[in-house]
Symmetry: C2
Subunit: 314 residues, 2 copies
Amino acid sequence: MGADGILELGDLELELGGVIPAARLAYRTHGTLAPRRDNAILFAHMYSGTPASLDHWIAGGRALDPTRWFIICPGQLGNGESSSPSTTAGRFPELTIGDDVTAQHRLVAERLGIERLALVLGFSMGAQQAYEWAVRFPERVRRVAVFAGLARTTPANDLLVAAAAEALAAGGTKQHAHFWAATALSAELFRREAWRDAGYQSVADLVTRLFEEDFAGRDPADLLAQLAKWRRADVARHTDGDLAAALDRITARVAITAFSHDNVFPVADCRAEQELIAGSSLRVVQSVWGHYAWGMTEAATTQIEQIVADLLPT
Amino acid sequence: MGADGILELGDLELELGGVIPAARLAYRTHGTLAPRRDNAILFAHMYSGTPASLDHWIAGGRALDPTRWFIICPGQLGNGESSSPSTTAGRFPELTIGDDVTAQHRLVAERLGIERLALVLGFSMGAQQAYEWAVRFPERVRRVAVFAGLARTTPANDLLVAAAAEALAAGGTKQHAHFWAATALSAELFRREAWRDAGYQSVADLVTRLFEEDFAGRDPADLLAQLAKWRRADVARHTDGDLAAALDRITARVAITAFSHDNVFPVADCRAEQELIAGSSLRVVQSVWGHYAWGMTEAATTQIEQIVADLLPT
């Protein structure tokens, strides 16, 4: 499903001073851009994902209905499809979320001629990109829906992601999978053995299928580039470190969603940013899946879709 | 302070079938055993600690007053002072918490001639040992005070400790320090920058002094032996896996304390065990230090000491 494309970016100058030679932005679109170009949605993907990771959210009759919306799913830099360590000769330069968004802006504004996006949404690292869009290009973004992610990486989140990167660098994707299995779910999930409801036979089965197998096919250098980018996420780069001032640039209507048992992006951290965004809302999706509440259960999926549906015009 | 001793255990047969040749139990005692031998307290130390780690809890005028109590602080097997990988030639066998407690029992009952301990207490891995005492030797234990620890390692805790061990094995004590810095504190500690109150200048200073320097002097093989033992903690070994039946063997008066923001041993996991122990109590010490609430602030220290004082006769 969807149509895949590549935008050639030429030699891409990055926010931290590096250059990606002959850079490429891979993307997937769903649906058709309306003649007035007013039905475009940008859906940014999460860590270790690709545009294909988002396919299951997009279907006729659902909130992200491709018969109604033109949905652009850009591949983040470092994802193995867009320019990445695995696709680039030599030392790969340091990335920021801003680099993703400026590349995506070229796709949206220059290639596709879209003046304003009806919605930018994303989960986790996708949320970082959505916030960056709203702060960097406020006039381009009408609505934002962020799920379990922050505009600026907190010190606690930075320590966590740094430890994930150390696990990956020292122990490979399997150790890195074990790190996330130990930190991204919740104690409640295990106490209640709620993983059984998702079809896992045992904790070992959960760790193998949901974590080890998921990361096994990824290039470690690509994942490390993404983790380093995650740690650098900070919309306050635009305002000399003043987060409130950065978030005050947002003109979009912002719907923020946190996951109740998420230790990666705790509710209180999401709330602290929400309180700095005029007219924004915060909803909390209850789920013992922690950061993995994204799409893991029918109940969470229904709530997430309803939040998107409520934000969009009918 | 205190007096150090060594109990020679001979060739020590272990619960899982291994043998430690010419095994030794290192220990420290504080105070004097009363003629009636009824003033003995056993204080078991935590992961990566030694009996000296407990010195600061023991002083005249405090709950653990050595002018009133005879306080025995055994060194756990694998701690570098008692028999450990670092002190033993050849492959070191697999340990259980039961091995610690049977060795400690020989010290208490055979060497010191103590029939019944007035109190067994411990934090974290020390709590595992206290529970094991109460289940294995119920007639020997009058009172138990456990802090931020469990009688049986949960699946969530097992994943966490396994990931810590992988960090240590692949990346050494520094990566292992970073793992605990990322997982054993709380997001609230960082959100409020409450670490400033403890005298740290920055997050980097906190990570360096509280974690990196603390673990830097430890032998990785000793730490790995302790982590493996931690994972195996399970009083239900005595009752064919039936945790309720195991905890029902306890005759001691048990005071359980959990730390409010502890992601290593969450309150709900402590409560689940507390509900299985007749006549026990659960108190929650509020602290944003998470698992590190043990002794990190004056407020937590005062609460912990009060809990011990309330449990002991005057």
